[in-house]
Each structure stands twice: as C-alpha cells, then as structure tokens.
Symmetry: C2
Subunit: 408 residues, 2 copies
C-alpha cells in the first residue's frame, strides 16, 4: 500500500452496539488472576459458579463409549434420546411435558438468548428483578432488548417487591417478565405466592413469564416453585434450564428451553437450525446422567448446605460486612464496608496477598441495571470444599481490612 493511501486511511470502528457490550463482572478480572498466579499466588476462585464437585463418572463412561465414528451434526432440536430423557426428568419434577415442548440449547446462555428473541423485538422491554444474573445485561445488548429493572432489597431477603412496584414498570413495550429462582446472585428461593403473583401479572398484562430455574436442585430451606406449575399460564410460561450446575458439567454447554407454547418452541427451533446444533458428544453423555438416582442430589445438597453455612457464618462475623443466609443456589450477595468493589476485586488480585494466597470475587454493580446500585456489594460462589472455603474467608477478611486501611 502506498504512503498517501496510508495517510488518508480512515480508522475503522466497531459498532455502537458492540461498544455497549459490557464485560462480565464475573470474568473480567481474569487477566489479573492469571498475573497473580504467575507470581505464585494461590487464587481462591469465588467469582464464578464453577463447582468443584466431580462430574459423575457415568458421563465420562458414556462419552468414552460414544458409538459413532463421526461426530456428526445432531438434530437442531436436540438428540432424540436426550429429549426423551428430559421428558422423564421433568416428569420427576412433576411437570407433564412432551418432547415437542423442548429444545436443547448450547448451555443455559443460549436458552436465555433464544427466549429473549422469541418474545421481544428490537427495542422491546423485559422486566427483571435486580440484582440479577449479570449476563442478562450482555444478552440484552446482543438481542437489542431493554431490561427494565425492579429492585429487590437485601433487607427483604431479595424477595420480590410488591405487585404495584412491578406494575409501575410495565409499558406498552413490555413483553415479558424474566425471573430466576433459586436466584443467582442472591440465593433467594421465591415463594409459591410470589410466583403466583408473577403469573397473575403475566395474565393481566398479557406478558410472557420466563423463568430461569437452573438451580432447581439447590434448595436448602423451603421448596422450589417452577413456572410450569401454573396451568393458567401454560401458553406464556417459558422455562430456561441447564445441566451445568445440576451435574457439575459447566463446560458441556447443554441447556434447554421448555414451553407449551408451540410458537415459542417453533421459533426457538428455527433459531436452532441457524446455529445447526448443540454439541453432539455432550448430549450423548448427558443422556446417561438423567438416569442418576435422586440420592445423587441428596449428597450434593448436604455438601452445599455445609458450604453455605460456613461461608455465611464467616461473612457475618467480619467487621462491617452484611449478608443474610440464602436458601438456595450457591451464591451470596454481601455488602462490604467498601465504596467501590470493582476496584477492590481488582486490588485483591494485583496488590494483596496473605501467605501467597488471595480471593477472587465478583463485584456487585454488574448485577444491577440501575446505575450506582451494588457498588458496595460482591457476589460469592461457595463452590469449594469446606476447609478451603474457611481459609478463603480468612484471606478475604484480611483483604477487606487491609484495603480499608489503605483506602479510608
């Protein structure tokens, strides 16, 4: 290329949509964590919901015995055997769904994206309860959908705000309410009366009710209420699911959308045809997992309950730290005596260590849509064994203390 052309060459820029795309608060500290590890520091990763529980060996056994010589495209709707297995799994949950009500997705992530696009056009609005799973923000940017937050408060245990507060946010562009129970990031398990209220609003305002229930099995007090338990909204209920947490299988990228609304599943299949299929080998392996006995979850359940108790006890003893004991999932939102947890989370990786150890946390602001909220909060995922969790809490406490001393 000639010099003159080089001089006149315009700078090319990514799209405004792309610039709007947020980095995940759960993952954006990765470069600092990698650098810390390079310096020989042990990083307790409480930022991400990556369980350390072993993936059940039946999954590996199945994958090892994959019978085909070609890893071919699977059906866009999902492996027929896996769809049949899912019908059985949901039957065990008390849900009467058939294969035509389900599409297998590439993780719960794709399930959310498909559901958003199915119900909302560009510029449409979806009601969410903040704090919410931070990646909803990213999916909304990708889909051109506006998330309208209704704030749930720590002092109410992050339970839903009164009906009037929700109704006040509904406009002519509102297409759906998106709820998550058991909740990520708060761990709150919604009561039947709360889900019932949402079902009523969905009927009154003619909205879809999209429910992210990937933590269904992780309830320590009370019980899970699913969106499919309200037959009066069968035409507008959309269940989002994933095996990532259920079977400690985050890297498999296998989720699903379930709905009795044939148009919803129909368009999700068309979205699915465009991306061809979800991973073939992983669907094969996951099919074997659906035959695990319920007792598998009993053990997991007891283990996470111990982890929760250890984490909450430690947090509640820390000076200036506020948190409540959540009833489900494996997350805790905690309020720290720190003004900017974004800065703190980075500092823990770049500047802090205690005997060559530190803790990686997810700063809270990214879990809110309302500017300014959550800046003094963090989300912790209690996904390590009890002794390591206990140690991580000691290191975190020391970190908070040192940070406050330096940033008073």
């Amino acid at each position: 290329m000639e010099k003159s052309a080089e001089k006149t060459k315009k700078k090319i820029d990514i799209s405004p949509r792309a610039k709007e795309m947020p980095a995940s608060p759960i993952r954006k500290t990765e470069p600092y964590a990698i650098e810390a590890m390079k310096r020989g520091i042990m990083v307790y990763g409480l930022n991400v919901g990556q369980p350390d529980i072993e993936t059940p060996h039946v999954f590996f056994d199945a994958v090892r015995n994959f019978p085909n010589k070609v890893v071919a495209y699977q059906r866009s709707q999902g492996d027929s055997d896996y769809l049949a297995a899912l019908v059985g799994y949901y039957k065990g949950c008390g849900y009467n769904v058939t294969e035509k009500d389900i599409i297998v997705t590439t993780g719960g992530s794709e399930a959310i994206i498909f559901a958003m696009q199915a119900v909302a056009s560009v510029g449409d609005e979806i009601i969410v309860f903040e704090p919410f799973y931070t990646n909803y923000n990213g999916y909304a940017v990708m889909c051109g959908v506006k998330l309208v937050p209704v704030t749930s408060k720590a002092e109410d245990g992050y339970h839903l705000p009164p009906k009037a507060d929700i109704l006040a946010k509904i406009t002519s562009r509102t297409r759906a309410i998106l709820v998550c129970t058991p909740n990520n990031p708060t761990g709150t398990v919604l009561k039947r009366s709360e889900m019932k209220m949402l079902a009523e609003i969905a009927l009154e305002k003619n909205l879809f009710l999209i429910s992210d229930e990937v933590y269904r099995e992780f309830v320590y007090e009370g019980e899970h209420t699913g969106v499919l338990e309200f037959p009066e909204i069968a035409d507008r209920a959309i269940l989002l699911d994933s095996v990532s947490k259920r079977y400690s299988l985050c890297g498999a990228r296998i989720g699903c959308v379930v709905s009795k609304n044939a148009d919803v599943i129909g368009v999700c299949i068309r979205f699915g045809q465009a991306r061809l299929c979800s991973p073939t080998l992983e669907q094969y392996g996951t099919t074997a997992l659906t035959k695990l006995p319920k007792s598998y979850f009993d053990e997991i359940h007891a283990e996470y309950k111990r982890r929760r108790d250890v984490t909450v006890d430690a947090l509640q003893k820390m000076d200036g730290v506020l948190c409540r004991k959540p009833s489900g999932a494996f997350y805790i939102m905690a309020k720290l005596p720190i003004r900017d947890t974004d800065e703190f989370a980075q500092w823990m990786l770049t500047d802090f260590q205690m005997h060559k150890e530190t803790v990686r946390v997810a700063p809270g602001a990214g879990f809110y849509a309302t500017p300014g909220l959550g800046k003094d909060e963090i989300r912790l995922a209690y996904v390590l064994e009890v002794p390591r969790l206990k140690r991580a809490m000691e290191v975190l406490e020391a970190g908070i203390k040192e940070y406050r001393g330096k940033h008073a």
Copy 2:
C-alpha cells in the same frame, strides 16, 4: 382459573422478530425425512454438509483421556492450549497471528454472529453475494442486521460481479462485506484478484471485510486466498473459521474468529463472556487434531475430488439440469427444470421413492435474499461415498423425471 378470566384471556404472540426468523432450507424438511424413514425408505441426505468421513481417531483418543474430573467452564476466549495450537495451524497457512488475535467460538455459526454484532448495530447493513450460505439470513434476523445482496451469476461460475455493482449497493448504513471462499453453496473459489478488489472496496468505503473460510482445505483447482493475506486491511479483516468440515467434526461446535483488530477481538471476548465458554471437552479433543500431518488432508482432498466429479458428471447428463464444475468446498448449485424446488424437495420425501430410496436436497431460494431468485435451483452436498453418490444421482434423476411428468 375462573371461566370469566379464561374468556377474557388474550392470545399471546411471539415477537415480530421471531416471526421473521426463517426456517433453514437445509433442515426444514426434517419432519418429512423422518416420516419417510419411518415408512422404510432410505433417504440419501445431500441436503446438509455433513461429511461421512470418519472423525480422526486422535480426537476420540484425546477425549477418552481427558485428564480432569470436572468438565469445568473453559476460558471465554478459549482453551489456552487450543489457542496456541491454532496459532500453529495458521502459521502453516502462512498467517502470522498470535493468541490475542483469536477467540474460540461455538461453531462457525457463533463466529458469524459475533462478527456481525461486532461490526453492525441494529439496522446497519452488510453486503453479501448471493447465493450465500442460507443461515446468514437467520443470523441477520437474530442480530437485527440487514443483508444487502449483490447477485453472483451461474454463468460467471458464481465469481464476483464487477466492482461497480458492489459499490452501487453501499450506503451510509453499510458496515461490512461478508464473503465466503471456498463458497458454500456454490463451491466457487475466489481468485486473488477478487479478494484484492474486496480489500480495495473495504479501504475506499471504510468497511470491514468478513471472510468465511471454513472450506480452506477443500480446493481442487486453483488456490485459496484468505482475507489475512492483505496486510493493508489488517485493521478491518475478520476471518471466520470452524473445524467442522476440516476434521469431519460438525457436532463438536468449535470455530473461531481471527482478527488483528484488537477492538473486534475485545468485543467478541465480551460476547464470549456472556455465553461463558465453548465446549470444554471438544476443545481438548480438537487440540490434538491440530497436530495431524498435512497428508491427512491430501487423502480427504482426493476423495472429495472424486465425489465432485461423479456428482457433476451425473448432473450434467440429466435432462434439463444445468450446473458447472465448482473448484472447492463440497457443494453444487444446480438449476433444475422445475419451477419450485421448495415443493420438489418436499415431494421427494413425501411422494416419491425408487426401490424404497429417495434423495433429500436443499431448495435454492433460501440461499438468496432477492425474492424470486433460486426457486429453480437446489444445493447438493456431495458428502457420501462414490457408490452411494452414484446411486443417489440415479434416484434424483428419476425423481426429477417423475415430478416433471406430474407437474408439467
């Protein structure tokens, strides 16, 4: 629910965006194919680019020896070992890229979606050459992007139209040109001079040049020219890739985006963080594949060339069928003496059989954006062994003849 409420209940509808979402012409005949198979009919699947070549055993060996006990999330950018292996693979292609120029995606599909969203906001335009890979239509609907087609003609061997025709379609909303070489669905391998022309336009009009090169290894005459071979557009060149065809690994869902534009890779990583990661186990297995010797492709290459020749020879002998011998990929667009190939493709599955056999083809209209074009064309994927391909061509010929007799 009370009866009165039931009566007043409004019908809930999917979004206008969702209604716009097209079914894939490659996959939409699936229900008819399944029904045909249930009736005991053997269906030759020439509709989809699903190679019958065995996935190399090194992939299965690696997956069987996956060393971890948890199938955990992988990094959003991709497995570090796999990124390093990709750098080596591209070095072999003559491309000097580093790990920071690459993000691993969940198939080539996600690579296209990420690239579209990175360069275009809702309502922006991307130039494509029709016929084009039909799923671009679906991704465009999902991303709210408008595809602006420039028609390439069968009589020109589907090579690019003159520069003036392309310039004429560029508006203030145009953000990129999306090209595919070797081409799906035409098999055309673009000449260096054609890619050079696109690079010039990208510079003159300040556009991105997005190049889908997943069939790089499948060139039977001439040679492949990649978008990364033009240093003057390094800031605006985006390579889309996938291992699906290269290693007969369609079901693994492993692709990537490669660009020297750090903002492009940066936002793709943010998109990637939202969807967490691409499949862990499959990335591990695919890393092993990048060590395959070049001789692996030599054999594959010779096999596909034989298949192409058999298919083209058979098509050219059929009464009223027009097609040219393409130089790459494993697809052929053929013009049939039939007015509506959508109807024909369905009829082949619902009404036709020859000795209990039939052929599944992809109707052509879905590969065009201009209404009315491609209605008398089909796309064939020559992905079966030679004897089966020969037989499939006999069955197709008989089908065309019978259909014409009935729909004259």
